[in-house]
Symmetry: C2
Subunit: 209 residues, 2 copies
């Protein structure tokens, strides 16, 4: 199934987590089955769009029955790679890094934060909700020893490329970048950006007359 | 200039803050002028793409000269609505709400957080970097009294729709939504989502073999 991933557009890739989120809520509410029309209304997509999206992965659902909520959620769970080992680390233990460590929502899907890293001596040695803050010097040994493949970067933008390089050298293959700068990586490393200021400016742009 | 906004695609709208970010850094580094080729290399876009994007707003730059960094930055500053009054509030003063309040980067562009709102009596009355945490009961009077048009929502997902409704009733026209749920709004209210879990799942998806 994952083989088809390379042929999946950016837009479909961005919608899959949204399907997963809606299906998780429906399952939690005891819903067993949903028609493609109702799913499309809830999600603000057309039924044909949903069929096209699911066809990228071989298609789900049966004519006249709709979708089995639990099965569809399980399929998307697999597609998203949520069955993998998804431990990660957070580099930069400031406000945002600590907010990520304090948030329990990621753990429900198996994304465990195994450590925070910082250069600030006042933070090193602390623990945030039981997650230790280590000296950044430990980064390059910690990553292979703990088989970490993902790192969230919550440093000031001036430090981001440097810590990303260190993490990638030590084996990280995915960067979740919160720094307000774009990070250059080798082709086999995936970067997912959360540029908060860009998002705020987009909101401002769309609100301006 | 802003009139053209309605004809601007979502993709262009998402790239404008990125141009702004790059130009701000270039200006800070003392760069006065940039060729369209160099800009395209730095940003990972084609020169023709950049020209097309800028043509949505009447076009900038001169054949053979390239772009004047300071002027271009100023134009995009206007386009993004950053010349407007961009005070906002944060609803939900937990870890993420506090991280937003502690971050000083938004202020540089005139996005001042005027207050945080929560239901938790242990948070109400505190101040985060000088920004007071108010009882959520104060929300509906605070918004018109302080001419607030934007609200960041950092509550648990179960509360998000309800606080958004309250904020919109009181006059908010833009919602910056961090809750892991989609919020329904009247057509004249803009929602910009930062769905952190969706972003993390997208990263996981793109990393999976």
């Amino acid at each position: 199934m994952a083989r088809e991933k390379n042929y999946v557009s950016e837009a479909v890739m961005r919608r899959m987590p949204k399907y997963y989120r809606y299906l998780t809520d429906m399952e939690a509410n005891g819903m067993q089955r949903i028609s493609s029309n109702e799913l499309s209304q809830r999600m603000g997509l057309t039924a044909s769009q949903i069929r096209q999206d699911f066809n990228c992965f071989g298609g789900f659902g049966q004519q006249g029955y709709g979708y089995n909520v639990c099965e569809l959620r399980r399929e998307i769970h697999k597609i998203l790679g949520l069955t993998n080992d998804n431990n990660f680390i957070v580099i930069g233990a400031g406000n945002l890094g600590q907010a990520l460590a304090n948030y329990t929502g990621f753990e429900k899907e198996g994304f465990l934060i195994k450590g925070l890293f910082d250069i600030n001596p006042r933070l090193i040695g602390l623990s945030i909700r039981g997650i230790p803050v280590y000296d950044i010097d430990k980064l390059e040994s910690f990553i292979p020893e703990n088989q970490i493949h993902m790192a969230a970067i919550c440093t000031p933008k001036e430090k981001a490329q440097n810590v990303a390089d260190q993490a990638i050298n030590a084996g990280v293959k995915g960067i979740w970048n919160f720094a307000a700068v774009d990070i250059a990586t080798p082709p086999d490393v995936i970067v997912e950006n959360v540029h908060l200021s860009d998002s705020l400016y987009t909101l401002s742009f769309r609100m301006s007359d």
